[in-house]
Symmetry: C2
Subunit: 301 residues, 2 copies
């Protein structure tokens, strides 16, 4: 019988299209991948990949088992979760993921506190863009901004999310004096006209598009324009003491159905350290409920 792990290597190559990337994904040296797949091919007398210049390309034979391999992977993930779900130790690793702004401007001290409280637990933090797949155990606990998490995840909504329109003090002054077009800062991939613009700033123009919340804040602060942001972000930065000039306009946006959630896969319901982690950060966030729900905002009169 074939070494089952070979299929894992096969999948990595099939997905990544070349040995080097596959090796990186698997966390091993590229020569290992190269040799294992060659051995697999020889053992079965089947060519699975064409060695083209830019990498490895699946043959027809490989396509035939690709779907099957994916199914096997799903099952292995299931097993992995199930095993992990019965881990009752308060030690070992936890993969934690959240948007990097929430980490940097809100939870970084709590992470430090968690580390101190549970020194036996190794936290691995993933804050890079893109959602981690909790089913694939890319992360065990996720802090996410979402309207309603998928049903296979469990966890709490720690707070609702309030948005506001933010502007730099100087810009606001200018806008009040001159009747110029209001400069807007929008999301890069929001192509339609947002509702809040239509309603409150019919006379406006797009000044800048960004794909990152902190960059949006930086742009507002630099006086490039006004922007709609979740309150927690500017409010945690622009305290009166810091001398910051970014403030919220007294415009009431409808309460978002989105919230800050602390989530993990249902299979990890009883995993001791995961539960502790979830509870810990749920508390942390709930203590900042006012921040997320916009009650810390400083308004322009």
């Amino acid at each position: 019988m074939t070494d089952w792990d070979d299929i894992r290597y096969f999948l990595a190559i099939a997905r990544n299209g070349n040995i080097t990337a596959a090796a990186k994904a698997l966390g091993v040296n590229h020569s290992t991948v190269s040799r294992r797949i060659r051995t697999l091919e020889e053992k079965h007398g089947v060519r699975l990949f064409e060695r083209i210049q830019s990498g490895y390309e699946m043959t027809a034979a490989a396509s035939g088992i690709y779907e099957l391999a994916l199914e096997v992977e799903t099952k292995h993930q299931h097993i992995s979760r199930h095993l992990f779900g019965q881990d009752s130790r308060l030690q070992g690793e936890i993969n934690l993921t959240m948007p990097h702004d929430i980490l940097g401007y809100c939870l970084i001290d709590d992470v430090a506190a968690f580390r101190k409280k549970h020194s036996e637990i190794q936290l691995n933090l993933f804050v890079a863009k893109g959602l981690k797949d909790l089913a694939a155990r890319e992360a065990d606990v996720a802090i996410r901004l979402t309207a309603s998490p998928p049903e296979y995840l469990i966890g709490k909504k720690a707070a609702s999310l309030q948005h506001g329109i933010y502007v730099n003090e100087q810009v606001q002054a200018t806008l009040t004096k001159t009747k110029m077009q209001v400069p807007l800062i929008l999301w890069t991939n929001d192509n339609a006209q947002p509702l809040w613009v239509e309603e409150h700033f019919p006379s406006s123009e797009v000044a800048l598009r960004v794909d990152d919340l902190y960059s949006m804040y930086a742009a507002v602060k630099a006086g490039i324009g006004i922007a709609r942001m979740p309150c927690y972000m500017p409010d945690s930065l622009s305290s009166p003491l810091s001398g910051d000039t970014v403030k919220r306009l007294p415009i009431e946006l409808p309460v978002s159905s989105w919230g800050v959630w602390v989530l993990s896969h249902a299979d990890l319901r009883h995993t001791a350290r995961v539960r502790h982690c979830r509870d810990f950060f749920s508390d942390s966030l709930q203590q900042r409920k006012d921040l997320f729900e916009g009650r810390n905002s400083i308004y322009f009169k």
Copy 2:
């Protein structure tokens, strides 16, 4: 991510109940199994087996993943067959299985011929009792006596199977002279009264039960009683030249719906060497059609 092969080890232990048997099934040393399962347990912080005196016993945690592991195994078997199904070489191994009597008294010379014709192919013969699982690739080609093979197997019916009632010459003489009860030799696990006994030998008694065809023949030859056997077996042994005294009674039994089939899994349809093997032994058997269909029998007048 867990080494997928660990699940293979897990399954082997779960199934066999102890390390030693699992190791034998996996074809590795028992210490390897012992160490790998321990590593797996430590990595996940879960106890999977209780070390009891008589071996290893699944814990509740292990039962939880047992079903999943079985499904994974099935998928891996599927992949394995699919890969093998695209092997176009006329070299490598073929696992061949058949009832041991068919090998010994009919096909052994053909096996030798096949070996000679395809010296690059390594034949592994399995003739022990019990059907090999073709889906699990325990065997690639099977010669079987069956009425209708399962639909996931492909292959040909090489011949129909004719049965006859056989008896030793001396016994026959005795039976004709004295009006004693006819002594019967039956199968060990046939508890009901067979149809042929009811019809042709209402006045009879069970002399012996056996669970093996050659033993049945030996018993008939030794004069223990009469038996219903597929013709191929006694007819290939008791030629007039050998001076054997076992012959068939002139009783026409209904033609059996059973036949001699040469089979392999549908996924191996195009595997070159498997096809050659199937064709080769199909031919071999078809050349002996007369033998299987009872036309070589020598009758008592």
